[in-house]
């Protein structure tokens, strides 16, 4: 951590990109005046829609990009000036980019990563065994990466970015493309890593469920600025107080009238209900629906991130 006990300390961070020349010159402000302090050991979700500035922020925090303005310290280091020192102390996982060699087994890739991080052979072997247990992935480490499913590969990717025991894990959309079960497993692993190792988690995602199940605190960015910064518990009370129930019907059903439930759509084949969880429990609504309607399929989902952000804009500012 930095001298002030913070893992990440950002003040007035801005990043502008310039494209084109002369008359066609265009200046894009990807990040605007962001200030953010993250305690060591915290689990923070950094979310926002496409183009909000999440990836640009994470690239600056990890040293891939220079900031245009502002003071940025990660573990007390200025990321773009002390990139290699920082790389020894942080782990990064970009959901769409692999750090494993596809033709080789994860074990062989770990040998390479251990050499890069100057970890001796015996220590590396012990760490791999530890990670295999922590991530429940020992049987995957000897299979060629190209033969693993995406969920299995992501567990190996997580092991790869933790081999050098980083103080902070930066994860950019790590659950993208995973199925529901694999997502759930991956979220549980992140919480376990944080609780057992004290590793700070800095997570970006489009998925509201990632935020609810992994993070303790959520920062929402849009158009390059922070528009919300609070605990996930507070967010759950104020912004995630709705759940959406999608119901498939075998044949038509009568209208449903329940307090706290809004019927968005109702046809002979299905219905979409929005439940205000402050007025009605999801469990009770499911019980009633299953009892009175001929249900063929049913699922409960979170509201899309875009709706949450619209809610933030609609809510009175503190």
């Amino acid at each position: 951590m930095g001298a002030n006990g913070l893992g990440i300390d950002v003040t007035g961070l801005s990043k502008t990109f310039v494209s084109g020349r002369r008359a066609k010159r265009r200046v894009v402000e990807a990040v605007r005046d962001i200030s953010l302090q993250v305690e060591a050991g915290e689990r923070l979700a950094y979310i926002g829609p496409n183009g909000a500035g999440k990836s640009t922020s994470i690239k600056i925090l990890t040293g891939i990009l220079h900031a245009s303005a502002g003071d940025v310290r990660v573990l007390g280091l200025v990321p773009w000036k002390e990139r290699r020192q920082l790389a020894r102390r942080i782990g990064t996982l970009f959901g769409q980019r692999s750090q494993l060699w596809f033709e080789l087994t994860p074990h062989q890739s770990f040998r390479m990563l251990a050499a890069i991080h100057r970890i001796d052979k015996a220590d590396a072997a012990a760490r791999v065994a530890e990670l295999a247990e922590l991530l429940d992935a020992g049987d995957l480490f000897d299979e060629p990466v190209r033969t693993l499913s995406l969920g299995q590969r992501m567990r190996c990717e997580l092991a790869a970015c933790m081999l050098h025991r980083p103080d902070i894990l930066f994860l950019d959309e790590p659950t993208i493309g995973l199925d529901l079960l694999a997502k759930q497993l991956f979220r549980d692993l992140l919480v376990r890593v944080n609780e057992e190792r004290g590793t700070t988690i800095f997570l970006t995602s489009h998925d509201v469920a990632d935020v609810e199940q992994v993070a303790q605190r959520v920062v929402v960015v849009n158009h390059g600025s922070v528009i919300y910064d609070d605990s996930v518990a507070a967010m759950r009370r104020t912004l995630l107080a709705t759940k959406i129930i999608d119901v498939g019907l075998l044949n038509g059903a009568d209208a449903l009238a329940l307090e706290g439930v809004t019927v968005l759509k109702h046809t002979a084949n299905g219905a979409k209900l929005v439940v205000d969880t402050t007025a009605q429990s999801v469990r009770h609504v499911l019980d009633v629906v299953l009892e009175v309607w001929p249900v063929s399929d049913i699922s409960v989902v979170d509201p899309p991130l875009e709706d949450v952000i619209a809610e933030i804009y609609g809510a009175p500012r503190a």
Partner: protein, 258 residues
Amino acid sequence: MSWFATAVRTGARQMYASWPALVVSAFFYLVVVTAVTTLWRAGAAANDGHVAGYTATMLTWYLATSEASILGLSFRMIEEVGDDIASGSVATELLRPVSVLGIRIATEIGRAVARLSVLVPAGAALCLVTVGPPPHPAGLLLAVPAVLLALTTNMLLQHAVAGMSFWIRDARSGWFLYQKLVFILGGMLVPLEVLPAALRHVAEVLPFAAVAYVPARLASGHVEPELLAVQLGWSVVTGVVASLVFAAGERRLQVVGG
């Protein structure tokens, strides 16, 4: 530098893990060498048994060595590295605490060694069967370090060209031009002595001759150790140029993004 040695081993393991690709490249190599050497031997036969001072035996060893020096590397390296730069893969390599260029060169050396472990015995067997032993064993011995220096110079030069993708985003045109320059001015398809005098002088002062002509000339029986010094010089120059291009490219990437 233990990471460098580990990266070399990782590159070699990668190639051996894709052994069907190795088999295909060996087959392709044998087909090309057979076709080209047959043509040149016919040319020599029609010209009192030699071409520009090279006998049929010398030409066969020359071409087997020049082709192995070039095919020891990925044929589309400039394009592949350029795509990695343009797609942002190289940006994420900045997250490793070691040189991006260094780790790429180390893994390429490993891959090249794995390819050569297949191409060299195949080429030697072809030469022994068609024309017999090398014209001068000392020349062949000198060709061993020359092939390694040729591969190193070639991969550094290709990385320097591919590094243009940090600015122009598309290295395909660079790859097309580079390939043609190596074919002709590098002496891959024809010994430089066959070229017109003016073109030969141009070829001699360019680095392309170090990537094919030098090891091939040594393997064809010319015991000229001074050629190794020329190659060493070019490998240092191309190493400095590639390092400068990548350092400038990485700085640009940090400012404008990838």
